[in-house]
Amino acid sequence: MTKTATPQSSGGDVRLQGISKTYGSFTAVHPLDLTVPAGSFFALLGASGCGKTTTLRMIAGLEEPTTGTVELSGQDVTVLPPYKRQVNTVFQNYALFPHLDIYENVAFGLRRRGIKSVKKQVEEMLDLVQLGPMARRKPQQLSGGQQQRVAVARALINHPQVLLLDEPLGALDLKLRRQMQLELKRIQTEVGITFVHVTHDQEEAMTMADTVAVMNGGRVEQLGAPADLYENPATTFVANFLGTSNLIEAEVVEAGGEELLLKAGDAKLRLPAGRCSASARTGEKVLAGVRPEKVALKHTDDAGAITEGHNRLPGRIKDASFIGVSTQYVIEVPGLGELAVYEQNIERDGRLVPGAEIVLHWNPAHTFGLDAAQDIQAGADLDEEAA
């Protein structure tokens, strides 16, 4: 494998086949197949300990897979050491060389490949990440955001086929993180290199990535475009980990048509058959899910005004918190527990205060169905922890 990359080289694809990693009796990653298309921005999303970083390190060559193969642009690199792979990594906490200045940090990869005249490339790269004037500073003299950009520049200057990012924004504060998300997305679009991004922050993954793989317990739970994952979660873990979901246990009372008819407590709910990932024959249990922002509230007195055909559930406001763009309600539904509702603050009904009797309603098209055999709480508390 030659290490001479042309400046115009665009990204390569990554193909993982049956890759797994075990430490003694602990399995960090279960056998896994994953294809990252060339030039895409791919995110591995999951809570800490789910195997996402191990997967990344196996692509980089820093961890040897127990089974399976790693292919880069069609070439099997499974047994190649990291310094012979055309991938570069942006490490968590950046791992900048403390004894070298910014310029030499960025030039490190070029020099190791025996390239003599690095000046032009290094200066261009420092300009790309807007750190030109900082060239002669030491890493510890830079702020967190600046160090992060140096780490990106140091990796990108080598024009790798794939850039691996291991929680690169984890150490930054919220505002800077938002800024760097856009910055990274801009750089990725500009250079066209394949990015594989590991994160525990679902918002970060959805903002930046074209494709997100949600990992849990060493397995990929679901893979798809952010909107797809959000609208059609395949498991309760994905439904709860990506945003918030109301999951309602229900029984199928009528199946066969384009819509399933469900019975939840005393209420009847409708669910498009195409949006139910579980088998749903009459008499079987399913979980009916709906996102909090898709649900609307009406005071019981106005219940007559609800659009015909909407799913409805009667309930009582238990708690309401105003958070600016929206108001978040916790609704107690008799027999079904608590549901969350996010209402945009457009026309606020003064009667919607804690204790008020209301009716929840939503368009049946927004309902999704999940297999009832899963843990209904999976992923819910992890998300809070991560945020």
């Binding site: 290490k3 980089a60 060559g61 820093l62 050491p81 990291p82 310094y83 991938v87 570069n88 990594t89 490490f91 968590q92 906490n93 791992a95 900048l96 060389f97 403390p98 004894h99 490190f108 990869g109 190791r112 490949r113 002669r136 140091r154 990796a155 080598n158």
Partner: protein, 282 residues
Amino acid sequence: MAVHETTENAKTTAARTPNRGLRWLRRHIITIAGLCTLGYLILPNIVVMVFSFNKPNGRFNYQWQRFSTDAWSDPCGVADLCGSLGLSLQIALWATIGATVLGTMIAFALARYRFRARSGVNTLIFLPMAMPEVVMAASLATLFLNMGIQFGFWTILIAHIMFCLSFVVTAVKARVMSMDPRLEQAAQDLYASPVQTFLRVTLPIAAPGIASGALLSFALSFDDFIITNFNAGSTVTFPMFVWGSAQRGTPVQINVIGTAMFLVAVLCVVVGQLAGKRRKRS
């Protein structure tokens, strides 16, 4: 306290003076304590320095007579002094090189790898620092005698490398242990082969630890007397020369050499500090 003081000040002007003295003392007590300690440390060196300009009447340089630069203009004027000095410098240099190279390798092994003899080696390395020097000196001499090895330059060198090792290992190990392992992974990720990673990243980052170990070794080896005396045979190092001459009379040249060593050491520290400061500024 402040309120109390103001009322007292308002009452009498006479009370103000001792009060002000006390306050001054309170504010400067740390400076005073610091200066006293510094004086305690530096006074012997100053005495040595001053007496290097003495012209003693007898053979002993213990009483100030009059100012003279005789000793400074002829530092090798005493028989065997410069020879022993040269030998001590030579031994210190080789002992430093030997102990630093070996000690650095041992430190890396101890910090990086888990092997069966690891805790045993750790204890062994610590022993020379903990054991009384006389005991070590005597047992080494016994060892050399039994093996029939001729005492001299080589036995001294071997002994010095042995006790310097522990200091190098301790200094380097602390540095290597605190090093972020991701730095080496980052180097490998950036196309550095294992050899390049060691030379370009690991070694430069461990360098301050290695340097402090080497400096300690040099100082310890240069002024060691006890172990050297047991294992030197007829060879005479500088500390042994000073000891020997102290029986018969101390030449002023000894003070000259002492002063010169002190000034060189101070110069090294000052240059190091200035270089560090400039690096930080740029």
